[in-house]
């Protein structure tokens, strides 16, 4: 949609618009003879001569002194595409006028504007004041503010805005000085079409444009074609150049009666505009415009440096935060110090809406981020797709569609991959910019029917309109990416030095684990003996004195027995576990077919009791391992499969593919939320007495056993259908 007006408006030939603004007189002279070839009809108002009376005459005839300023000025000044003030003269006995001339496209163009005799401005003092004001600004914003302040001071316009073009071609008001009663335009964005391409080009050539009265009557240039060149007069460098009807309508829409624009350029590029609005017509004398031109010129010269200084300041700030963060990470043993509450965090490092820190399963979220589950999914995606250490994008969803669900907080992502192996990432999230861009009018609806017929008219609505374009955040600057990279390097270094530490701790941990296993074994063993005594004596009490006790007494003895039995079961399990954990392994090649047979025999009575069956599909592999331990694994899995089974015909199937062995049962299954915890010591998923009781140790023992053999165990289960344990034996 927005291309429509761009195309049309961009084609409008505004440099050969064919008329002048009437606040001055415009004449095209023969560069050699100074004979007037073309003139705006405003010559009548200013010189009291009709166009017909002017054409064909030497301009020198209109001056009081034929040998006055003209021949001399023309000889010294280079007027080629460079309007120069020749002097202030009376013309045809009228005036005085400021006479400004330049040569372009085969014509000497003379512009005459009335000089204000009462102008008391001390123009000599202005350059110094402007230089000082701009030079004193330390940051880009202070610089912007100084520009609009100075421009308003110079011109007295009601509103002065500094309008900066963005990469997209759109513009944003970055500074404003205005009468306090006016609604501020600061922060508003304008679509690229508001200042069409050819207008931008003209601004880089002719940096000052003044429209003292937007409702002016155009003063046609006659004849329309230059008799020497046969072309329309090119007004590119003319101060009096007429205004596009599109633009006047645009200004009228805003209630603006006088307008001025000063271009700030960077080389051939238009950086931005100082846009001045006045709500009643306002003329500015030529010398004051020249001062405005000086202001815009100085701003052009300094803007890169000032913005660079701003970037340096921001970069220095980020470096300071980075130094403190890294210092803290090195001091504390925990990387999550990066996100510690109440301290400086990664969110202070790089401006963003939210941040996340992940290492392994640990995930910390800060500020406005997607939900934890969404961030985990994103991390999984990054694990697979982030091939560069730093990934930055303002439109994540274009790469990762699920990001559409969290545009509001995470349209943009900056990801620093610390270690893929360790699953360590630092992420920064930025919200969708649409939430923060305030358009002056709907940029997507530029077409409105107007008195100009099928031509495109400017937008009529200047109400603030928030754009809802999807999925883009403010982009990440090179400086921000560089800081992310520095943080990444510092963390990688920290991780490496930590790896040595971890190695040492692992050795220590192993020793402690062995001690713990030994303790478990001894404790369980030594505890069992007195426990058996308690149990036996409770039994003796019952046998010897039971008949002398009442029911309550006998009940209490029964309770002692029951509790002692349970405690003994727990101790047995603990010993069993300790044994599996610490027993020396007799590793040799074991035939899993035999191990399964052995296990089947071990649980024979349980099979008979439940009517269960064990079916082996195909031939199972031979693996390296300890026979007892392997049998132990199958005994426990089979026992579980029979025990947690409500089927009339419990069935356990064993099959294999390579070193991967599956033990599938048709039991009650395990709900997904419990699947991670079933291997935990003493974890039971059922009431103590349901499914024949148990200590909750079986699967812990299985896991320990397979891990001691260098393998792994996993579980797939669906409640009501069955459970499949997947054993992966080591090579």
């Amino acid at each position: 949609m927005s291309e429509v007006d761009l195309t049309n408006c961009d084609r409008e030939p505004i440099h050969v618009i064919g008329h002048a603004q009437p606040h001055g007189a415009l004449l095209a002279l023969d560069p050699e003879t100074l004979v007037v070839l073309q003139a705006s009809d405003s010559v009548e108002a200013h010189f009291d001569l009709s166009v017909g009376a002017v054409l064909g005459r030497s301009f020198l005839d209109l001056l009081p002194d034929r040998d006055g300023i003209f021949p001399g000025a023309l000889s010294v000044a280079s007027l080629d595409a460079n309007p120069a003030h020749l002097g202030t003269e009376r013309v045809n006995g009228r005036g005085p006028f400021h006479l400004v001339a330049h040569v372009y496209d085969g014509a000497l163009i003379l512009e005459a504007e009335p000089a204000d005799a009462g102008d008391a401005t001390d123009y000599r003092a202005l350059p110094r004041r402007i230089l000082h004001a701009l030079g004193a600004a330390k940051t880009a914003q202070a610089f912007y503010d100084a520009i609009v302040h100075e421009a308003r001071l110079l011109t007295g316009f009601d509103r002065v805005m500094l309008y900066r073009f963005l990469e997209s071609g759109t513009g944003v008001v970055v500074a404003e000085a205005a009468e306090s009663h006016l609604e501020p335009f600061l922060g508003l964005h304008y679509p690229a079409s508001d200042i069409p391409q050819q207008a931008r080009r003209l601004f880089t050539l002719n940096t000052v444009r003044l429209y003292p009265d937007v409702d002016y009557r155009p003063s046609p240039i006659e004849p329309p074609l230059n008799p020497r060149t046969g072309r329309p007069l090119d007004l590119t460098y003319c101060a009096l150049r007429g205004v596009s009807s599109m633009h006047t309508a645009y200004l009228q829409n805003m209630g603006v009666k006088a307008s001025m624009a000063l271009a700030i350029t960077q080389g051939d590029e238009l950086w931005g505009l100082i846009a001045l609005h006045h709500y009643v017509p306002r003329a500015l004398p030529y010398p004051l415009r020249a001062s405005c031109e000086l202001l815009a010129g100085l701003a052009s010269l300094q803007v890169a440096e000032k913005e660079g200084a701003g970037e340096r300041t921001e970069h220095d700030r980020m470096r300071d935060v980075l130094d403190r963060l890294v210092g803290r990470v090195r001091k504390t043993p925990q990387l999550p110090a990066l996100v510690a509450e109440g301290e400086e965090t990664i969110l202070d490092l790089i401006p963003a809406g939210g941040a996340a820190f992940a290492v392994g399963d640990e995930l910390r979220l800060l500020g406005e981020t997607p939900g934890e589950a969404a961030v985990r999914d994103l991390l999984a995606w990054l694990d697979e797709h982030q091939t560069e250490p730093i990934w930055a994008g303002e439109g994540l969803s274009a790469h990762y569609p699920p990001a559409r669900d969290f545009h509001a907080v995470g349209a943009g992502l900056l990801s620093a991959q610390i270690s893929r192996a360790a699953g360590a990432y630092v992420l920064w999230f930025r919200p969708e910019t649409a939430r923060t861009v305030h358009w002056a009018g709907d940029p997507n609806k530029p077409v409105e029917t107007s008195e100009l017929g099928d031509r495109v008219s400017p937008r009529r609505s200047f109400a603030v309109w928030k754009e809802a374009v999807a999925g883009l955040s403010r982009p990440w600057t090179e400086g921000e990416k560089a800081v992310a990279e520095l943080l990444r390097l510092a963390l990688v270094e920290t991780l490496v030095s930590r790896a040595d530490e971890i190695l040492r701790l692992n050795v220590e941990l192993e020793t402690r684990n062995e001690d713990l296993d030994a303790f478990t074994h001894v404790a369980a063993h030594d505890l069992k003996e007195p426990l058996r005594g308690i149990r036996n004596y409770a039994q003796f009490l019952h046998e010897d004195y039971g008949d002398r006790l009442d029911d309550e007494g006998r009940g209490q003895i029964a309770t002692i027995l029951r509790l002692a039995t349970r405690l003994e079961g727990l101790l047995d399990s603990l010993m069993h576990f300790a044994r599996v954990s610490r027993e020396e392994l007799a590793v040799r090649r074991c035939d899993l077919n035999q191990a399964v047979e052995e296990a089947e025999m071990t649980i024979q009575s349980a099979l008979e009791r439940t009517g269960g069956r064990i079916v082996v599909h195909g031939s199972l592999p031979k693996v390296k391992g300890d026979e007892d331990l392997i049998t132990e694994i199958f005994v426990n899995l089979f026992t579980n499969g029979l025990k947690y089974n409500e089927s009339q015909a419990p069935l356990i199937e064993v099959s294999s593919q390579g070193l991967r062995v599956e033990v599938r049962d048709n039991g009650i299954g395990i709900p997904k939320r419990h699947q991670a915890s079933i291997f935990t010591l003493f974890r039971r998923l059922h009431a103590r007495d349901a499914f024949g009781g148990g200590t909750g140790m079986g699967l812990t023992i299985v896991k320990k056993a397979i891990e001691r053999l260098g393998g792994r165990i996993g579980v797939v289960s669906e409640p009501g259908v069955g459970t499949t344990f997947v054993l992966e034996f080591a090579e």
Binding site: H525, K528, E529, R532, G533, R535, Q539, D572, D628
Partner: protein
Amino acid sequence: MSAVRERSVIVVEDSEEDYAAFRRALKKTGTDARLVRYTDGEACLKGLRSEEGRNTALVILDLNLPIQTGHEVLHEIRNDARLRGLPVVVLTTSANPKDVRACYDLGIGGYIVKEGDFQGFCQKIESLAHYWLGAVHLP
């Protein structure tokens, strides 16, 4: 049976309560064997090697003993020419298959795990008594 009644059954058991439970269980079977108890392996070996020790019919050996473990005691018995042939039955808390195998490797006559409730224990002791003190012919 008279032969057994005159000969002694040696019980190596450091726990008073376990020994009491054993005696009680054995008594329930109606066997009136002469029980000689030692609370550690050293005393047991000394007793076996004494004059009275010659009269031993069966050794009931716990594995978890102070000073010397049951394995060590068993080992010494098997390496002593005069004791080598003694029938030994292990009565222990340990159900570890490695313990079981190691003991059978040393030529034990049986391995009984002390587990379950007292009734279960009594059944095991009853079997032990019927077999070792009734059915078999001892050296």
